[in-house]
C-alpha cells in the first residue's frame, strides 16, 4: 500500500507503540498490563510496519528472526522458575525484593517470567504476520 500519510504516521507511531509495550510489560505484575499484552502491542508495531513499508523492511527492523525471539522467550520463562529452587522453594514460587521502584513497583521473579512471555508473543505474532504477508506478495 502506498500512502504517504500512513508511512509518515508509522514513523512516529512505532517508537511510541514499542515504548508503550515496554511500559505495559513492566507494570504487569502489579497493575493491568503484562507480558502478553505488551508483546501484542510490540508485535502490532511491526504489523503496522509490514502494512506501510512491506515485509522486508519490517524483518530488517526486527533484526533477529522471529524464531530467535520464540526461543529466547521460552528459555527466559523456563529459567524464571529456577531462583525459587535455589532457595529450596517449589519451582515457580515468586521471590520478591523489598525495594520499591516508581511505575514498576516491587521487583521479583514473576517479572522475569513476564519478560519471557513478552518475547515469546512478539516472536509468534511476527512469525505469523510475516509468513502471511509474504504469502500474499507471491
Amino acid at each position: 500500500m502506498y500512502s504517504v500519510i500512513l508511512k509518515t504516521a508509522t514513523k512516529y507511531l512505532t517508537p511510541l507503540m514499542l515504548l508503550f509495550a515496554f511500559f505495559l510489560l513492566l507494570r504487569g505484575h502489579n497493575e493491568p498490563g503484562g507480558g502478553f499484552v505488551g508483546g501484542l502491542v510490540a508485535a502490532a508495531a511491526y504489523a503496522l510496519m509490514v502494512i506501510s513499508y512491506g515485509v522486508k523492511t519490517a524483518r530488517k527492523e526486527l533484526k533477529y528472526a522471529p524464531l530467535s525471539f520464540i526461543i529466547l522467550g521460552l528459555s527466559i520463562a523456563l529459567i524464571s522458575g529456577i531462583p525459587a529452587l535455589l532457595v529450596s522453594e517449589t519451582y515457580f514460587t515468586g521471590l520478591w525484593t523489598e525495594m520499591k521502584f516508581p511505575v514498576i513497583g516491587k521487583l521479583g521473579t514473576p517479572l522475569i517470567f513476564d519478560i519471557g512471555v513478552f518475547f515469546l508473543v512478539i516472536g509468534i505474532t511476527t512469525k505469523i504476520i510475516f509468513t502471511l504477508a509474504e504469502e500474499d506478495q507471491e
Partner: protein
C-alpha cells in the same frame, strides 16, 4: 522429590528449546532428541518407583496451597502413564533416526515431538481440570503440526478432519469447565470431588459429566465420535502415526478414567450405563471397520478404536476388577499398538507401500520380521499367553462377575474378529507371493535396520514379559484401580498441603 514430579514436564520443555536452538544442525538434533528422551525415561522410572513405594505425591507449583495453586499430582495410574509415555518417546526417537526425512527435521520435527511429550506428561500429572485443558491444547497443537508437516495432499486432508473435530472437542471441554466452575466455584479436581458430593443440583452434574464425556470421547475416538481417527492416522510418516496411535487417544481414555472415578460417581447407574453401551458399539464398529480395509495402517487405525472400547468397558463396569482390567489394557495396548505401527513403517521401507495388495512374500525373505509382527499382532487379538490375553481375560471376567453377559459376548466376538484382521495382514503381507508387478525390494542398510528394528525388539520383549510374567503387572493394576476407586488418599494428598 518435588522436582522429580515436575521433571517429566520440564525436561521435554527444556529439550524442545535446546533442539530449537540447534535448528540448523540436523545431526545434533537427531542425537540430542535421543539423549533428551533417554533422560526422560530415567526420570520417569525414578518417579514411578517413588510413587510405587511411597504412594500418591503432590506438588503445588508456585507455592500457593491447593485449591488455589497449580497442582501437580502423581498417583499410580498417572505415574505408570508417564513411564509408558517415556518408553514410547524413547523408542520413537530411535525409530525416527533413520525413518524421518531431512525436510521434516529441518522444519522442526524433533522439537515438536518433545513439546508433544510435554503436553502428554502434563495431562497425566496435573491435578486441576483447567490445566488438563491447557495440557490437552499443548499436545493437540503439536500434533496438528506433526500431522500436517510435509504438506502432501493426503496429509492435509487428514489434518483438516483431525483439527476440526479436535477443536470441537476442546470447545465442549471448555464449556463443561465453565459450568463446573459455576456449579462448584473451584477447578482443582480433588476439591471438586469434595464439592460435587454436596451439590444438590444433581441433574446439572450429570449434564457436565456428559459434556466432558463427549469432549474426551472425541479425543479418545469412541463410538460415534471416531471418524477423524481412521481419516488421519495413516497419512503422516510411520514414526508420527506410531506415537499418535500409542499415546494420543489414551490421554483421552486416561481423562475419562480420572473424571469418572473421581468426580462423577454419584449417579453411576445413569452415566456408566451410557459408557457401557458406548463401549460395546465402539468395539464393534472399530473391528467391523477394520475388516473392510486393505491398507496396513488403516486396518491398525480401526483397531485402535475397537481396543478403546475394551478400556471404556472396564471403566463402565465400575468394579475394582473391571477398572484394574481397564488399566492393564491401557498398558498392554500402548506398547502393542505402537509396535505394530513401527512394523508397518518398516514394511513400507522395504516394499514402498502400505497397500496390502502391493505387498507380499515378506516371510520368505524376512522370516524374523514375520516373527516380530506375529507377537504384537497375536497379542492384540488376545491369544494366550501374550499380554492381550490377560487384558481381555480380566475385563471379561469382571463382566461375568457382574453378570453383564451381553457386553462380555460382544468383547469375545470382537476378539475373534481382531484375529481375523490380523491374519488378513499376515496372509497378504507375509504369506502370499509378492505381486508380479511389484517394484524391487529396497534393502535397508545396517543403520536403518538398527534404528528401525531396535524399538520393535524392545517393545516385543516388553509384550512377552507382560504376557509370561503377568502377575506383578496385574497386581499393580489392582492397586492402581483401588487408588482410583477409593479417592480419599488422592483428595487428602492434594488438599493436605503438599506431602
Amino acid at each position: 522429590m518435588d522436582l522429580l514430579l515436575l521433571l517429566p514436564v520440564l525436561l521435554p520443555f527444556a529439550g524442545g528449546i535446546v533442539l530449537l536452538i540447534l535448528k540448523n544442525h540436523q545431526k545434533s538434533q537427531l542425537y540430542g532428541n535421543a539423549v533428551v528422551s533417554l533422560f526422560s525415561l530415567i526420570v520417569a522410572v525414578g518417579l514411578f518407583s517413588a510413587i510405587y513405594d511411597k504412594g500418591i505425591y503432590s506438588v503445588q507449583l508456585g507455592g500457593w496451597e491447593a485449591p488455589f495453586g497449580i497442582t501437580f499430582v502423581a498417583d499410580l495410574l498417572g505415574s505408570v502413564m508417564v513411564l509408558i509415555t517415556a518408553i514410547i518417546g524413547f523408542t520413537t526417537s530411535i525409530y525416527s533416526l533413520a525413518s524421518v526425512d531431512d525436510e521434516r527435521v529441518k522444519y522442526g520435527y524433533y522439537p515438536l515431538i518433545q513439546f508433544l511429550l510435554m503436553g502428554i506428561n502434563g495431562a497425566f500429572l496435573t491435578g486441576d481440570i483447567f490445566n488438563l485443558y491447557v495440557w490437552f491444547e499443548v499436545m493437540l497443537i503439536s500434533s496438528f503440526v506433526l500431522l500436517s508437516l510435509g504438506g502432501t495432499r493426503e496429509q492435509l486432508e487428514g489434518a483438516i478432519k483431525y483439527v476440526t473435530l479436535n477443536l470441537l472437542s476442546s470447545a465442549f471441554f471448555l464449556a463443561a469447565i465453565g459450568i463446573i466452575y459455576g456449579l462448584a466455584g473451584t477447578l482443582n479436581m480433588a476439591d471438586l470431588a469434595v464439592k460435587f458430593s454436596a451439590i444438590e443440583n444433581e441433574g446439572m452434574v450429570t449434564v457436565v459429566a456428559m459434556l466432558l464425556f463427549i469432549a474426551f470421547g472425541i479425543k479418545s475416538a469412541v463410538f460415534p465420535l471416531f471418524f477423524w481417527l481412521p481419516a488421519s492416522y495413516h497419512t503422516p510418516p510411520a514414526a508420527v502415526s506410531a506415537i499418535f496411535a500409542g499415546l494420543l487417544t489414551k490421554v483421552g481414555v486416561y481423562a475419562l478414567f480420572r473424571v469418572f472415578t473421581l468426580l462423577f460417581t454419584s449417579n453411576t447407574e445413569y452415566t456408566h450405563t451410557i459408557l457401557l453401551f458406548v463401549a460395546g458399539f465402539t468395539m464393534l464398529s472399530g473391528v467391523l471397520g477394520a475388516a473392510a480395509q486393505n491398507d496396513f495402517r488403516r486396518i491398525l487405525s480401526f483397531h485402535i478404536i475397537s481396543q478403546i472400547g475394551y478400556m471404556i468397558m472396564g471403566l463402565a463396569l465400575y468394579s475394582p476388577l473391571a477398572i484394574a482390567g481397564g488399566i492393564f489394557y491401557i498398558i498392554h495396548h500402548i506398547i502393542v499398538k505402537t509396535n505394530l505401527f513401527f512394523i508397518s513403517g518398516y514394511v513400507n521401507k522395504i516394499k514402498g507401500s502400505y497397500e496390502l495388495k502391493k505387498v507380499g512374500g515378506l516371510y520368505k525373505v524376512y522370516p524374523w520380521l514375520g516373527f516380530l509382527f506375529l507377537i504384537p499382532a497375536m497379542s492384540l487379538a488376545g491369544i494366550p499367553p501374550l499380554s492381550g490375553f490377560w487384558a481381555k481375560f480380566t475385563v471379561a471376567k469382571a463382566g461375568l462377575e457382574l453378570e453383564s453377559f451381553m457386553i462380555v459376548g460382544v468383547s469375545l466376538l470382537v476378539g475373534l474378529l481382531t484375529l481375523f484382521s490380523m491374519t488378513k495382514i499376515w496372509n497378504e503381507a507375509f504369506w502370499t507371493d509378492s505381486p508380479k508387478d511389484a517394484p524391487e525390494d529396497v534393502k535397508p542398510g545396517v543403520f536403518t535396520k538398527i534404528s528401525m528394528l531396535t524399538p520393535v525388539i524392545i517393545l516385543v520383549v516388553i509384550t512377552i514379559t507382560i504376557g509370561l510374567y503377568a502377575e506383578p503387572f496385574f497386581n499393580f493394576s489392582v492397586r492402581a484401580a483401588d487408588q482410583l476407586l477409593n479417592s480419599g488418599e488422592y483428595i487428602n494428598t492434594v488438599l493436605g498441603g503438599g506431602s
